[in-house]
Amino acid sequence: MKKPDTLQGSLDLLVLKILSRRPGLHGYAIMTAIKDTSGDVLSAEEGSLYPALHRMEEAGWIGAEWVTKENGRRARIYQLTATGKKQLAAEEKRWHSVSSAINRVLLEA
């Protein structure tokens, strides 16, 4: 298992958060959602999004299924699992504590 770095940690958080609001998105939709909601500031590369999705799927945080769209193409859509919801809460908490800590450092320095 690789060490979770902060960047990856935040990608997980973003994906989980997006899926908690809008379940049943496929990979491309998640990518665009990250881009749009962050006002084009954040962007997830395909090269890190899919490994992250598959890793979270393996960890049981998100579930996946194949659906057939109107145009006949199959797409793999993802949604949050119960474990994933707990994980999201934990990640959010961690994020808030880290970011407030960083803010404090920035203010005091």
Binding site: Y28, Y50, P51, E58, R74, A75, R76
Partner: protein, 881 residues
């Protein structure tokens, strides 16, 4: 995703790849739909392959994926070295198959618990006391009165269960003509209850069936017999069968799986012990085996002491009634101790006779397996050596040490697995074959050779052990590769050779041991086969003949007369029983009015024609006449004369038995093997077949053995003709068994023949495998030292010097192996002395057998390598550098 899906993903690699690709494709399609440039979208996405690898890693069980790759890779490697791999697999298969086969036999005979509830609570009473020579002997028979006393003494702590020794008896479900054989065992009525056995039909025996002598003629069939004889017909309950004059009613069938308590015998019917007749009241009649079911929490030690107390008191009481007995008998009887032997796996004569033999064959088989293992280890080392560069490369690009070990171990496991599959087939064929070999002709051994989880577990254990045994050393060596060294092309070749040479010592030592023990078995058998038996067994048939009720001697004479006229029959005689059948009668002898002898003499009732029929020489005096009757005259053997009338003319002398009547010696005959071929010749006394009682009237005879010497060629169908003729002579006569005298003799050396055959077989296999091992190592070492040898030749080394260079070390290792093997052999043979006959392990001749065999094999194995070394052309070698 669960572990199972990940394992599944690893096994369905292609499907997973397709799914990943499809997801990526759909992503790109979305992007294009959203208005992005197709080429740009694709470029942004990057290489599918890289994406796939990254995602794959989280979607499959990594180690399994690696394992799959290693399996494919290992298979290709084995295929590339077809001949060597096949040799390794075959030799290992033979050894593993033999191992499993012997395990099945040992398990079925000695280890497998009986199909009863809590078999671990079962013990068998066994006695240990000195025999006439003061040697400790064990036996396990008790008398019924003793059994009763012991049972009531330990009531509450343990339950005692009595069994007769299971044996084949004549039973009939109809008339006398329809007699057939069935294996019967008379048991305590409460046995089924105590063993927790359920009926498959009807009811089982209970304590109530076993209360009064002769009152409850009931029987329970075994499931096996019920199926075999009646096809599982439920109507069998209520039917009757007859044994002698007793008619038994079948009341039920025991549950499947319970085949009695004697491994090697499958019991057909169980009847209560109280049907054994007068024997159940006789104190001097020892006919039953006793099982003890110890209650939970009861200590064995005190229980044994308690039982011993009862036994000892009973023996003391019994000995007071002994008159005219030599003192040592009473002394020894009182020295006898009582032991409780764990009997979870039952108790049988087969166990006693073959347990040790099987164990020693087991040891030989394990040794052969180790030799085969050493060969495969050598092969793996060579294979791994050829892959040094590849291993180094793997290490350089980041493979861990474990990964390298796994690669080699997977290959070893594959060899072990293939060998196990072949070995299982071999075991499936060979184990029943061995059981058939230990079958005496008239008493088939039936050993349940179940192929169940026990055998499977043993097989798996064997595969794992083998893999580690021959795979671990090469794997560790391969994994310790130093990339810089190896890629430069010059790692340390000596380390590898050291391992292989160490294996040579072990191989030679084990091979020596196997050949040594095999030689001892073979020599024992050969010596036994050449023991002079004192009579001619060739062309002699023995007919055990019974009558519905005792008939006057005249009827027996008429019957034998009618046999005499049959074509192909040369001579006909009568005797109480055949020689060497195991049946015997013995008594003490007292001469010149002295107290009875210390040694016992064997007795046999014979008709006048017996000596001639058996071709036993009459040395002095006369044989029996037609009008001689018992008790009056006797023939004695040479040993009898030597023991009781040394230096005297014995003909005309008289002697007494334990009591009157007095017998007069009318002739002296040659010594014969009376009961067992391995037994020293004892004094033998022959008395007339026809007897008179005290009032002088001829006694009717109920059973006897007709001995028939046929003309050289045995006529086919003679047995049937003999049966008919006996029955036709008088309808009361019936032949219950026909067996040739030779079969009776052969039956006594079955174990020795088996040991000799298996011993020689495994000796041959061991020599072959060791030879292959030697050849392989020598060949490899010559190939490795080509350069060195080439240079030596170039600077003028003679052929003799080269030969010495190549062989010196091997000869040295072989010598070390032989020395180790001799030490092991002498140590081991002490434990199996009982299986030898008149051979001593320390005999020079016995040690010479394996020594010569190994020397020959070594020479044969060395020749190719030496000639290869001598053919090395220095110019060619140096040119190729």
């Amino acid at each position: 995703m669960s572990l199972w899906t990940r394992i599944g993903n690893a096994l369905r690699g292609d499907k997973l790849n397709r799914e990943l690709d499809e997801e990526f494709e759909s992503h790109i399609a979305e992007a294009i739909e959203a208005g992005r440039d197709p080429v740009e979208a694709r470029r942004a996405f990057g290489s599918h392959l890289r994406q796939r690898e990254a995602s794959r890693e989280s979607r499959v069980a990594g180690w399994l994926d690696g394992l799959r790759a290693d399996l494919i890779f290992g298979w290709r490697q084995l295929k590339r070295n077809k001949v060597t791999s096949a040799a390794a697999v075959l030799s290992l298969a033979l050894a593993m198959g033999a191992c499993v086969s012997v395990f099945r036999l040992i398990d079925a005979l000695l280890l497998r618990p009986l199909a009863v509830s809590h078999p671990e609570q079962l013990y068998e009473i066994s006695y240990e006391g000195p025999d006439a020579q003061g040697k400790l002997e064990t036996y396990d028979s008790s008398s019924y009165p003793l059994f009763r006393k012991m049972r009531s003494a330990v009531k509450g702590n343990a339950e005692l269960i009595a069994f007769t020794y299971a044996g084949r008896t004549d039973v009939t479900y109809g008339s006398d003509e329809e007699m057939e054989k069935a294996v019967g065992q008379w048991v305590s009525g409460w046995m089924f209850d105590s063993f927790g056995i359920q009926p498959a039909a009807g009811r089982l025996l209970t304590a109530n069936d076993d209360k009064e002598q002769g009152k409850e003629p009931v029987a329970v069939l075994s499931y096996d017999y019920w199926m075999r004889r009646f096809g599982g017909d439920l109507k069998v309950v209520g039917r009757t069968f007859r044994i002698g004059r007793d008619t038994y009613e079948i009341v039920g069938v025991a549950d499947k799986g319970f085949t009695g308590t004697e491994p090697g015998t499958v019991v057909d019917f169980f009847a209560p012990t109280t049907m054994m007749g007068a024997a159940i009241t006789q104190e001097n009649s020892f006919w039953l085996r006793t099982f003890v079911r110890v209650n939970r929490g009861v200590e064995i030690g005190p229980l044994r002491d308690q039982l011993f107390g009862v036994f000892h008191a009973s023996e003391l009481e019994r000995s007071k009634g002994w008159k005219n007995m030599p003192g040592w008998i009473i002394e020894n009887a009182l020295k006898t101790r009582l032991e409780l032997r764990p009997a979870a796996a039952g108790a049988s004569g087969l166990q006693k006779e073959y347990g040790q033999a099987l164990m020693s064959i087991g040891v030989l088989v394990v040794l052969v397996l180790l030799i085969a293992c050493a060969n495969v280890a050598n092969l793996m080392t060579v294979l791994a050596a050829a892959r040094t560069r590849e291993m180094a490369l793997r290490v350089s690009i980041g493979a861990g040490r474990w990964r390298l070990i796994q690669i080699v171990l997977v290959q070893s496991a594959m060899i072990a697995f293939f060998a196990a599959v072949l070995g299982a087939l071999f075991a499936g064929w060979s184990a029943p074959l061995v059981v058939r070999m230990i079958n005496p002709p008239d008493n088939p051994v039936r050993l349940d050779l179940l192929a169940d989880w026990r055998v499977l577990g043993f097989g798996i254990l064997l595969i794992v052990a083998m893999t580690l045994l021959f795979g671990l050393a090469p794997a560790l060596r391969a994994s310790a590769v130093k990339p810089v060294h190896a890629l430069k092309g010059g790692d340390d070749p000596h380390a590898r050779r050291r391992l292989m040479r160490g294996l040579i010592i072990a191989q030679v030592a084990f091979c020596f041991l196997v050949v040594f023990v095999g030689g001892l078995f073979a020599t024992s058998f050969q010596k036994l086969n050449h023991v002079p038996i004192g009579f001619s067994a060739e062309h002699v048939l023995t007919l055990d003949t019974v009558t519905t009720q005792p008939l006057p001697p005249a009827a027996w004479e008429q019957m034998t007369e009618s046999l005499r006229n049959l074509p192909g029959v040369e001579q006909v005689a009568m005797a109480g029983w055949p020689l060497m059948s195991g049946t015997m009668h013995n008594d003490f002898i007292s001469v010149h009015g002295a107290p009875p002898s210390d040694t016992l003499a064997f007795f046999l009732h014979i008709s006048p024609e017996w000596l001639e029929t058996m071709k036993i020489p009459l040395l002095q005096g006369r044989g029996f006449r037609a009008d001689d009757t018992n008790p009056s005259v006797a023939l004695v053997n040479e040993t009898f004369v030597k023991d009781f009338f040394p230096g005297e003319n014995s003909v005309g002398q008289s002697f007494d038995l334990g009591g009157p009547p007095r017998l007069q010696i009318v002739g002296v005959v040659g010594d014969v093997s009376y009961r067992r071929i391995r037994e020293a010749i004892l004094p033998q006394v022959y008395v007339p077949f026809i007897g008179k009682d005290k009032t002088g009237t001829l006694q009717p005879i109920g059973d006897g053995t007709v001995l028939i010497r046929t003309t050289a060629a045995a006529t086919p169908g003679l047995s049937a003709l003999l049966r008919q003729t006996v029955h036709r002579a008088r309808s009361e006569f019936r032949v219950s068994n026909i067996i040739s005298q030779q079969e009776l003799i052969d039956a006594q050396t079955v174990r020795e023949r088996l040991l000799a055959m298996l011993g020689m077989f495994f000796a041959g296999v061991a020599l072959l495998l060791a030879g292959i091992g030697l050849y392989g190592v020598l060949n490899y070492s010559v190939a490795q030292r080509q350069r060195e040898i080439g240079i030596r030749v170039a600077v003028g080394a003679q052929r003799g010097a080269i030969t010495r260079l190549v062989t010196a070390e091997i000869v040295w290792r072989v010598t070390m192996g032989v020395v180790a093997g001799t030490g092991l052999g002498l140590a081991l043979s002490r434990y199996i002395q009982a299986l030898f006959y008149e051979v001593k392990a320390s005999d020079a001749a016995m040690l010479a057998i394996p020594l010569i065999a190994i020397a020959v094999v070594t020479v044969i194995a060395t020749v190719p390598a030496v000639s290869r070394a001598l053919r090395i052309d220095p110019a060619e070698i140096l040119r190729s550098e």
